[in-house]
């Protein structure tokens, strides 16, 4: 996923969960979460159980989600170059009256704040600011923290440093008013969004919206129910490869198609039964349909190459033989007291090896839904 795709993904998630976007650019979103999204993303179960029990109006969090960190930083430091000159002077000069620094921090807006962030990234205030006498600087920085961009200033930084001394690591932004998250592929926040999407989009029931112009007002279009299932197939030994398959089964005829999800994406779907549409009866139960999908998958998988599995089985056999060679004489020669524990060790180790190496194909359903389609029979 590149930055653009991530940006699109985030935008659609925020939109779907009803979050209020306060500010956005091609590189970031500043967003006030909806209660639903807050529950998913902010990891505050105690707060939410408090809200649920007392019925108070929930106060959701505001996040700064940066989808293109490089671009975003360039953008914000660009602002600084305009207004933050004083702020820099206050930092470099240091000896100037503290009021100067404060003013600079206020007028500079995101200027000193950006500095503060930079400092946070290098893990402190950085060697560049050493020349500053300790008296003057912290104030300027502490004020920087109050600036709208919400970067951690000296006081906050000290707090963070103390927390991280105790816990080793504190995710950026805890304690800050608007925590910033860089969303790159593999980042925690994006992983969390992925998981949230998966939890929030498990089962759907949708109807295809017919093309209105083509319809006579008194006509009623028949639509057929389909079961759509997205299956992730993992080929697993000590390594793993995956495939994603989208199967669709017509609940009327039992016909199975592949690539079902992509077909759906070209359609206009709605959760309500549209006018001029009626649903034809299903002749297949969901269980039966699931069987059909499993069979279709099985047929597909039969044609695959299982060289990897044979190789894994070979390794497994080798390792079990090696193990037997080591343990069997050991068990044999062990004294009464020890025999049992060594045999148990042997069993445990065998179990571990199978766990590690035994080849298997695991088909896991990502999500599934009922789709009532007019186009497909």
């Amino acid at each position: 996923m590149n930055a653009k795709q991530i940006h699109r993904f985030v935008e659609r998630y925020l939109d779907a969960t009803g979050c209020a976007i306060l500010e956005k650019s091609p590189a970031h979103f500043k967003v006030k979460l909806s209660p639903a999204a807050d529950r998913e993303l902010t990891n505050r179960p105690y707060y939410w159980s408090f809200v649920d029990r007392t019925g108070v109006e929930p106060e959701t969090m505001t996040l700064l989600l940066v989808t293109d960190p490089a671009k975003y930083d360039a953008m914000t430091t660009g602002v600084k170059a305009g207004g933050g000159g004083d702020g820099q002077a206050a930092q470099a000069g240091g000896s100037g009256p503290a009021a100067d620094g404060r003013q600079a921090a206020q007028t500079g807006g995101s200027g000193p704040a950006a500095d503060g962030r930079q400092a946070a990234q290098t893990g402190g205030s950085g060697p560049a600011s050493q020349a500053v006498p300790p008296g003057a600087r912290p104030e300027a920085q502490a004020d920087g923290a109050g600036s709208p961009a919400g970067a951690p200033g000296a006081a906050e930084q000290a707090g963070m440093a103390a927390l991280s001394r105790s816990f080793g690591f504190v995710p950026a932004g805890i304690g800050a008013r608007v925590p910033r998250d860089d969303l790159y592929f593999g980042s925690r926040r994006l992983e969390q969004l992925f998981a949230a999407a998966r939890r929030g989009g498990r089962f759907v029931c949708l109807f295809q919206q017919p093309d209105e112009r083509a319809l006579h007002p008194y006509d009623s279009l028949p639509c057929t129910p389909w079961l759509g299932v997205n299956v992730k197939v993992g080929f697993v030994c000590d390594m793993k490869r995956e495939e994603l398959h989208a199967f669709g089964v017509s609940l009327a005829t039992g016909a199975v198609v592949e690539g079902f999800f992509d077909r759906l994406q070209g359609m206009k779907l709605t959760p309500r039964l549209p006018a001029n549409v009626h649903v034809t009866g299903a002749s297949l139960s969901l269980k039966k349909a699931a069987d059909l999908i499993e069979q279709a998958l099985m047929r597909k998988l039969k044609a695959y190459d299982y060289g990897w599995a044979a190789a894994a089985n070979g390794r497994l056999k080798e390792e079990l033989a090696q193990l037997a060679h080591y343990y069997e004489p050991l068990v044999e020669s062990a004294g009464e007291g020890e025999k049992e524990s060594i045999a148990a060790q042997y069993e445990a180790r065998k179990e571990e090896i199978r766990w590690q190496l035994a080849p298997r194909v695991v088909a896991e359903v990502v999500n599934a839904g009922l789709f009532h389609l007019t186009g497909l029979a």
Binding site: R12, P127, G168, M239, K240
Partner: protein, 605 residues
């Protein structure tokens, strides 16, 4: 996706499989829930989220068995080529069970993190346990989070054991009630740092690691063999029992002597299937240079007077004691301290004074020395150090052996407007981390008495002042290793301060000119010192004897030269056995690699 949970394994529909060589599991748990929702007509989820879930799964898909997937997930940092190669090998060829035995400073932590990340990305590891020495817990947590985005947690309370990725100290983990809890769980991956502590099968640590249920396992150690071949056997057997055969087979096949292997080729082969050792000399690993400068400091007449008085005093005691070195250690310390600061001398003298009987004639003599101390007005060395610090204008770490000198330096630097913070062994972990933070942040100077503590990484600083030199070369190397390590992007400047006309001058000469300490590889030094010890006494004691018995400066010089020669002879010996197929040479996997003698003062180790 889950690996098959233990309980379910083998239960998956046998016979119903696309191929005879694999087990097949088809998840059907969704059917009932969908049917139930259909029956009640809801609640239904959102179509956009449904589509996003599919997109997310598509993006995360592991499309190949071989390619490292984790690399595209690490924008924050770039692993070095040898680290990537190691990760690849562990995944492809070793099936996730390996001993990572890189030499010190090549980034074993990074390799382990990379491997862990790869398995997480592939969905093969959901729960991992990382056991490390207590002093390294927070550092591991930090690295895994910051570099790899792995949400690792430091184990603090009982409930933190339930986090997916827990870093804990092995000594905590093996104690009840933790032990029982951990043994009842399955870990997809177990990582043990400083695994050379697992060399004895009788220890509780070893047995505990053996009993933990784990799928993948990484053991990290820089020294897979420290003393004898048994250690190697035990370590490998912990990872993969049978890899080297049974104990008696191993002895018969591979052990010529306690410390000497045989059938090296076969052993090498057996080892390389489970162990990876990258060495600095392998090339492709870029280190910056070390630039060493010895800085002469002239003692003021008062300081010189104190030095001479202390030297006289120490020798007198030595002669009185009948040349018994063992009883003289505190006095030898005195002799060394006098080169560092008057404060250090004073503390030792004061303690000595308290210990001597009230009517002892010693008391008067000690008092005389204190008089000498009183006359000293300035510390020439501290002034030189200040000059250097001002000159560099950059982060600088100052090492001293003595607590009193440390206090003095902190005060001295403060008086001169330089922000300095202390670091010493006695501080608790939190305070140490705090001092590190301060040094990284606003302080210019770190004054440290301890370098041995694993886990101080000071790559952001590349100036180092040895305010006084330890007599043990390993300690010097440890000091340098704090700064000169992987990730250091600048050449490291090392300043050795030495006072002319004192023993220090000779020590610097010995360490720098005679044995080229600053150019050696960590492992090499280790090896030579061990040989030296085997032949006679430790280097420190030899030096002490030399100082106490020498009749004059020329005498000391001769002694030092002789010492330098014998060290160089050992060094040559080490090299010869290495090339002739001695224990280490036969096993590149285990060996320490001597560096070429051609390098001058600028060195890449």
């Amino acid at each position: 996706m889950h690996p098959i949970p233990r309980a379910d394994r083998g239960a998956g529909g046998a016979g119903k499989s696309p191929h005879s060589s694999v087990e097949f599991v088809f998840d059907r748990s969704w059917v009932d829930e969908l049917a139930e929702r259909a029956a009640r007509n809801g609640p239904w989820d959102d179509w956009t989220l449904f589509a996003l879930a599919v997109e997310a799964e598509r993006a995360k898909l592991v499309t190949s068995f071989d390619e490292l997937q984790s690399l595209r997930c690490l924008p924050a940092f770039e692993p070095m080529p040898h680290q990537i190669a190691t990760a690849r090998k562990v995944l492809r060829e070793m099936g996730g069970r390996a001993i990572l035995a890189d030499e010190v400073g090549l980034g074993k932590t990074i390799e382990a993190g990379l491997i862990l990340k790869e398995y997480i990305v592939r969905g093969l590891v959901r729960r991992a346990l990382i056991l490390v020495p207590a002093s390294l817990v927070l550092q591991w947590v930090r690295e895994l989070n910051q570099k790899f985005g792995i949400p690792a947690t430091a184990q603090k309370k009982a409930h933190t054991w339930h986090a997916d990725f827990v870093v804990a100290s092995i000594d905590t983990a093996k104690r009840e009630p933790h032990r029982e809890l951990l043994l009842s769980r399955d870990y997809d991956m177990l990582i043990v740092d400083e695994a050379h502590k697992l060399k004895n099968r009788k220890t509780s640590n070893y047995q505990f690691i053996q009993q933990l249920r784990k799928k993948y396992c990484l053991l990290l150690t820089a020294t897979p063999v420290q003393n004898d071949m048994d250690e190697l056997f035990n370590l490998i057997t912990l990872l993969k029992p049978g890899q080297l055969g049974g104990q008696s087979e191993f002895v018969a096949n591979f052990v010529a002597d306690k410390r000497l292997p045989k059938n090296e080729d076969r052993l090498q082969e057996a080892l390389s299937a489970v162990m990876i050792r990258n060495r600095r000399s392998d090339g492709g690993i870029a280190f910056t240079k070390r630039i060493v400068r010895n800085i002469e400091v002239k003692l003021s007449p008062e300081e010189k007077a104190l030095y001479d008085a202390v030297t006289g005093f120490v020798r007198e005691r030595y002669d009185e004691s009948g040349r018994d070195l063992a009883s003289m250690l505190s006095l030898v310390t005195l002799q060394r301290e006098v080169c560092s600061s008057r404060d250090a001398v004073f503390v030792t003298l004061f303690n000595l004074f308290k210990k001597t009987a009230e009517d002892s004639p010693m008391r008067a003599k000690i008092w005389e020395l204190v008089e000498f101390i009183r006359r000293i007005r300035a510390n020439s060395k501290a002034e030189k150090a200040l000059e250097l610090i001002r000159e560099t204008g950059d982060k600088t770490i100052v090492f001293t052996e003595y607590r009193a000198t440390q206090e003095y330096l902190l005060q001295f630097l403060k008086q001169h407007g330089i922000h300095a913070v202390p670091y010493r062994g006695g501080m608790n972990r939190g305070k140490k981390d705090w001092m590190m933070d301060l040094f990284r942040g606003r302080a210019q100077v770190l004054v440290a008495t301890e370098a041995g503590g694993e886990g101080i990484n000071l790559q952001f600083c590349h100036h180092m002042i040895n305010f006084d030199l330890p007599w043990n070369p390993m300690r010097v190397e440890q000091r340098i290793g704090r700064v000169h390590r992987l990730g250091q992007t600048n050449d490291v400047k090392i300043y050795n301060l030495y006072t002319t006309g004192t023993i220090e001058e000779h020590i610097v000469r010995l360490l720098h000119e005679k044995i080229n300490l600053f150019e050696m590889v960590v492992g090499e030094l280790d090896d030579i010192l061990e040989r030296l010890e085997r032949e006679e006494q430790p280097l420190e004691q030899r030096l002490a004897r030399l100082v106490l018995e020498a009749k004059g400066d020329a005498d000391i010089r001769r002694g030092i030269d002789a010492l330098g020669r014998s060290i160089n002879r050992l060094r040559a010996d080490a090299k010869r056995t290495a090339s002739a197929g001695g224990p280490e040479a036969a096993l590149p996997v285990l060996s320490v690699v001597p560096d070429g003698p051609d390098a001058a003062a600028e060195v890449r180790p």
